[in-house]
């Protein structure tokens, strides 16, 4: 009995030491980790400034393993663009745009990359739709998600107080709940708008020229030839082949290695 108690005491002591150690060591690890990412980013920028875009890309890729940052994707997109990989550049600009939708440089380079690709997609923007889209994308997706959750809670809290409180407090609470509900609806619509943008079905062609076929195999008939940078929607998967749809409705099957999925990001 005494031996068992002693054993338990030793176990408790070890656990305590580990917990205390973890408590003190973790804050030390986090800055070191952050410094490494920042160093990689700076090293990549230096390589880019020196015109060594290939080396810059290696550093950007390494940094992207640790953080998801709009500027990181933007710079990596630039390195891809300088190396002639229009498709990969467009994929990175798209990722940066989701994280920082109001950044003018990101939007400019995204549009530039799209204009530079061989396959032109003529889009005549509907002014109303354009206005609504801009209105719904005033803030980034992460903020919209958080705001939607908080607003949902606050709206229902107000409604709960309306039901709970007396008639004197009811009127101002109803007004506050209505205002909160309106904001909640706005953030919900914004979330939906962003959700369409970050759909995992979105992909970019990353090979210079690609033949889309009528079936998942080389033996099928050629349907259409597309080029680097074309943004497509993945409709179906079969083995190593995917069925993609290009803007305008045309599409076909090709090997999935010819595409880069935009979201979730690599």
């Amino acid at each position: 009995m005494a031996a068992e108690l002693k054993h338990r005491a030793i176990q408790l002591w070890h656990t305590g030491v580990l917990m205390v150690g973890f408590w003190f060591v973790t804050p030390c690890l986090v800055p070191a980790y952050a410094a490494t990412t920042a160093d990689l980013f700076q090293a990549a920028n230096q390589a880019y400034e020196a015109g060594d875009f290939g080396r810059a890309l290696v550093y950007y890729d390494s940094a992207a393993m640790f953080v998801r940052n709009a500027n990181l994707y933007y710079n990596r997109g630039n390195a891809h663009f300088k190396l002639g990989a229009i498709g990969r550049a467009i994929a990175d600009y798209n990722r940066a745009y989701i994280l920082a939708p109001t950044d003018v440089d990101i939007r400019q380079n995204l549009e530039f990359g799209r204009a530079y690709r061989p396959d032109k997609t003529l889009v005549i923007p509907n002014p109303v739709l354009r206005f609504l889209t801009a209105l719904l994308r005033l803030v980034d997706l992460a903020t919209v998600k958080l705001a939607n959750g908080v607003l949902f809670f606050l709206t229902l809290l107000c409604l709960g107080l309306v039901f709970f409180g007396g008639p004197v407090q009811r009127r101002p609470l109803v007004v506050i709940a209505a205002v909160l509900a309106a904001f909640w609806l706005y953030t919900g619509a914004s979330w939906l708008s962003w959700a369409a943008e970050v759909s995992p079905a979105k992909a970019v062609v990353v090979v210079p020229e690609l033949t889309l076929r009528s079936g998942p195999g080389e033996e099928y008939k050629e349907m259409v030839i597309v080029h680097d940078g074309l943004e497509v929607l993945v409709r179906s998967r079969r083995g190593k082949y995917v069925l993609v749809q290009a803007p305008g409705g045309e599409g076909g099957w090709a090997e999935s290695s010819a595409f880069e999925q935009i979201f979730p990001a690599r």
Binding site: T37, A38, F41, Q42, N45, E49, V67, R68, N69, L72, Y74, N75, N78, F81, G84, I98, L99, A100, Q108, N109, E111, F112, A115, Y116, P118, K120, L122, L141, A142, T143, K145, L146, G149, V150, F152, F153, L154, T155, L156, L157, L159, G160, L161, V162, F163, F164, G165, V198, S214, E218, K221, E222, M223, V224, R235, G249, E250, G251, G252, A265
Partner: protein
Amino acid sequence: MRYFPVRYAWMVLLALFLSAAGAELNFSADVDRTTVGLGEELQLTVTVRGTNIGSIPRPQLPELSDFNNLGSTSSQSTNISFVNGRMTQEQTVSFIYFLSPKKVGSLSIGPCKLEYKGETYQTQPISITVTKESQAPPARQGQQPQRPFDPFDWDPFAPPQRQPRTTGRIQDDIHIVAAADRTVVYQGEQVTVSFSLYTRRQISDLRLTEVPSFNGFWVENLYDAKQLQYRTREYGGRQYDAALLKKVALFPTQSGELRISPMKIAGQAISSGGFFFQSAEPFEISSGAITVTVKPLPEQGKPASFTGGVGRFEVTAKLSADSSVGGEPLNLSVRISGTGNLRLIGPPKLPAITGVRVLNPETKDKTSDEGGGLSGSREFVFPLMPQVDGKHSIPSLELGFFDPKAGTYYTRSTPALEFVARGAVPTAGVVETGSGMRVLGSDIRHIKPCLRPGSGGWSTAPEWWIWLFYPMGIVVLTLGVVLGRHQRRLEQDRGYARRTRSGKLVKKRLAQARGLLEQGDERGFYAALSQAVVGYVGDRFNIESQGMTNEELTVELTRQGVSPTGVTELLDIVKNCDAARFSPGMVSCSGREMLERAVRTLEAL
């Protein structure tokens, strides 16, 4: 389910496109004439035409046992069109075969086949009428041959211009001589080979029985005899009537010892025995084979711009226009002219031009064999599609070639060219230059110097806690509704309020009774216990129990659904309490037992 109609529409679109795409490749065969004289040349053109097609394999010819295949060539052209902003690239590849019929009559060229991308295409068969008479247009007077007769269909009734010699054996009198102007050359250097007929006899029914093969060479057909033009030539110390049958320019495509196989012809040698007495003797003769030693091109000094040219060339470049509006393409023509293997020269390497998309070039050839070697020009037309606005520069292009006479490489270059594009990118940023020209964003914007602070993490930040807000909100709302309803009922429904509070009250009263018991105040204890029991019953069933008699209480409790046992037990407790208060000693159980009994009975209600 919401997306099902969209998916369905997509499949319909795909099916429609499938059906439309079936007609993309056009495969046809045609001849330059359907009536041809025996031994005359016939041109069979097999054409493949399609949009956005890749490299086309050589089509399979049908069995041509009734024809001699005299050689082939091919040509290619590309046509680019824009319809509603969409570019279509139509490519036409023509394979041209030179055939010669072997016999008179109605012959047929069977269907040609093409295997392309897993599909088999087939042409219609072609009927050819072969006559004994020549179908070739009559030669002009100035070019009248010395002896105008068809070598492969000689007319014995035509007046001979030269009396054939009939003396000697056929092998001594008739020869085919294959001759090459050189037998040691560099790879790609021209070798001119001719096949000539030497005869001392009059011959008829001349026909080609074996066509020479030129494996390892690119062949340019320079001459094929339609009518033999005899000239007196000396061969082996004897005089012959000699006529050129065939002449080709050969360009070796590989190094090593290459063999040109012999040409064979057959016919009848006419022996004259007087005006009415002629006899014909069949013969078949063959030329000798030729072996050409091909030296590889030296690696030393080979310029990077070398694309296979061997000979002497000049290169020029020009643009079809000096400006482009609205993204319209321009043509950059690079023309290579000179003497040598023009058709083997590949397109010059065009460096990447920022802001300009360069499409595959169309090739146009113009060649002739005047001057001893194949000369002329090869033109590569590159369509240029401006992608961004502004001034675009096409750098100097270089062409490297090997001069076999000098045994060294040379490089020729074109001057740099420029053009201005406007309206290719309507939404690009505008920069004013010193010259006043508006340059619209010709490059991406520069990189960011540091990581974005606080830039989210739609993928790194934990999202699970965001989702907690939703169930928490529902819980809060539910609580508000339930508690609000409870509050209002407490205020409005007395029975509900009494029943709700009865539990708390009875606990309080029982605790009070227990305290009195512990203090030893038995009268007070029984009074409090009785009040607790009767009060609880009153609160629980919302009745005024304090003033009721036992009979009234029994009736009311029974009406409220309390079991008879429960009613009896309650009344018994109340009766015992009263008895203990007013007649101590009449109660058989202790106060603690009475308290526990009361608790059990009230819990059972």
